[in-house]
């Protein structure tokens, strides 16, 4: 469970998050929307301690994030807005192995995780390919595999569909559906709610660093336009 209480985050004088309260239960799927600059990226970066709160607290599975970073980062994995910058190795297999290696797992366990995570995004058997030869959709899926290899309870994806063509988009969505079915909780940050709301338990919309809406997709639909979010169609 991810729990956010009274979270405030400032960049210099800019108040990016202005008192956020939010809970994400295990196994839940939440879509996070909101205008540009409303604080989505800033918020999710608190879930695994990439940012530190100026005020308020964030806890994962009952432990304050700031007190046990390793626990927070194994429980919450993140796929960033520009997945390209997130790949740290030159080949597919080495990249997925990076997280598990840092956890000090045994070589067998690492190999198993690499294999399983790549299979989960339909990239199995491509361990030795160079990451700079992959297409946009493949890079996105590889980034997801790298996050999955941490075997997280919660997977956070920051605009995972940008630049993807329809087949790739559907392939990423299909992966997300499977993950959700297997009990991973998902937080999907996106401006494009098409197909995503059918997956979601809740839609949370930020505006000016606050939670402006937190409801089921059906109930939320009407109020989205006034918050600068386009309803799915």
């Amino acid at each position: 469970m991810i729990r956010v209480d009274g979270l405030v985050h400032r960049y210099g004088d800019t108040v990016a998050l202005d008192g956020i309260d939010l809970t994400i239960d295990d196994g839940e799927c939440v879509v996070l929307a909101g205008a540009n600059g409303s604080g989505k990226t800033s918020l999710v970066r608190h879930f695994n301690g990439l940012l530190e709160p100026d005020e308020g607290t964030v806890s994962v599975n009952g432990h304050a994030v700031s007190e046990n970073l390793v626990a927070a980062r194994t429980a919450v994995s993140m796929v960033f807005q520009h997945p390209e910058d997130q790949l740290v190795a030159a080949t597919v297999g080495a990249d997925v192995a990076f997280g598990p290696e840092n956890l000090g797992l045994s070589r067998d366990e690492i190999d198993r995780r690499v294999h399983d995570s790549l299979a989960a995004v339909n990239l199995d058997g491509r361990e030795s390919e160079r990451v700079d030869a992959l297409s946009g959709g493949e890079v996105e899926r590889l980034a997801i595999a790298g996050a999955l290899a941490m075997e997280p309870d919660h997977l956070v994806l920051d605009e995972p569909f940008t630049g993807l063509d329809e087949p790739s988009r559907q392939s990423v969505l299909a992966r997300l559906r499977e993950l959700r079915a297997s009990g991973t909780s998902l937080v999907v940050v996106t401006h494009d709610l098409r197909d995503v709301t059918t997956l979601a338990d809740r839609v949370v919309v930020l505006a000016g660093g606050r939670v402006a809406l937190d409801d089921t997709p059906e109930a939320a639909a009407d109020r989205l336009p006034s918050l600068g979010v386009r309803p799915p169609c």
Partner: protein, 192 residues
């Protein structure tokens, strides 16, 4: 979950940031070596490497500027195509331009030391005289080691080595110093 990974010792945030910057500067160095023009007065090409050595010292400071150049050399020795003209391999570290290559970490550290006035990363907004002085000192280090290396590896006299490995590059280096001053003086990079 928490008990699973108790032995994991995370690398501190600040250090992670420094490693990432050092690696990116090393990559920038590699990209700048690729920009290589023949020098009519010397078999050694003109490259933008020296400019990046300066920038590493100025923007990363003596410790991490030097470290980024070490990463550059090791990556090149192990096969990254980062030496002049996109070449790679341990051979370059004992080849005719070896002196220059070994001098880069020292030169970046010297530039950083003079600009920041110590090992700590301070502000790079210092007087132009100090900035230029730092880069001239860095150039002196690069040329000294470059000339000695060329003379030793190629078995030629120091005089010949001086003309081909140092004097022939002075105009190019003056241009790079001016470019570095321009970059620092513009507000191109946010003050740290």
């Amino acid at each position: 979950m928490a008990t699973d990974h108790e032995s994991v010792e995370l690398v501190g945030d600040e250090l992670v940031g420094n490693v990432a910057r050092a690696a990116l500067f090393a990559a920038l160095m590699g990209a700048s070596a690729y920009v290589s023009f023949p020098n009519p007065l010397s078999p050694i090409p003109v490259t933008l490497q020296v400019l990046v050595v300066f920038l590493a010292g100025i923007f990363l400071g003596p410790v991490w500027g030097g470290a980024s150049m070490v990463l550059y050399l090791v990556a090149g020795a192990l096969g990254a195509p980062v030496f002049a003209g996109g070449s790679a391999g341990f051979g370059a570290l004992v080849g005719p331009t070896a002196g220059y290559l070994w001098s880069y970490p020292i030169a970046a550290a010297v530039v950083g030391l003079i600009v920041h006035g110590g090992l700590e990363l301070g502000s790079h907004r210092v007087s132009t005289v100090r900035l230029v002085g730092a880069m001239v000192a860095g150039t002196a280090v690069i040329y000294t080691l470059g000339v000695v290396g060329f003379a030793y590896v190629q078995n030629v006299g120091l005089g010949v080595a001086f003309w081909t490995a140092a004097a022939a590059f002075i105009p190019a280096e003056a241009f790079k110093i001016a470019a570095a001053v321009g970059i620092v003086r513009s507000d191109a990079i946010a003050a740290e």
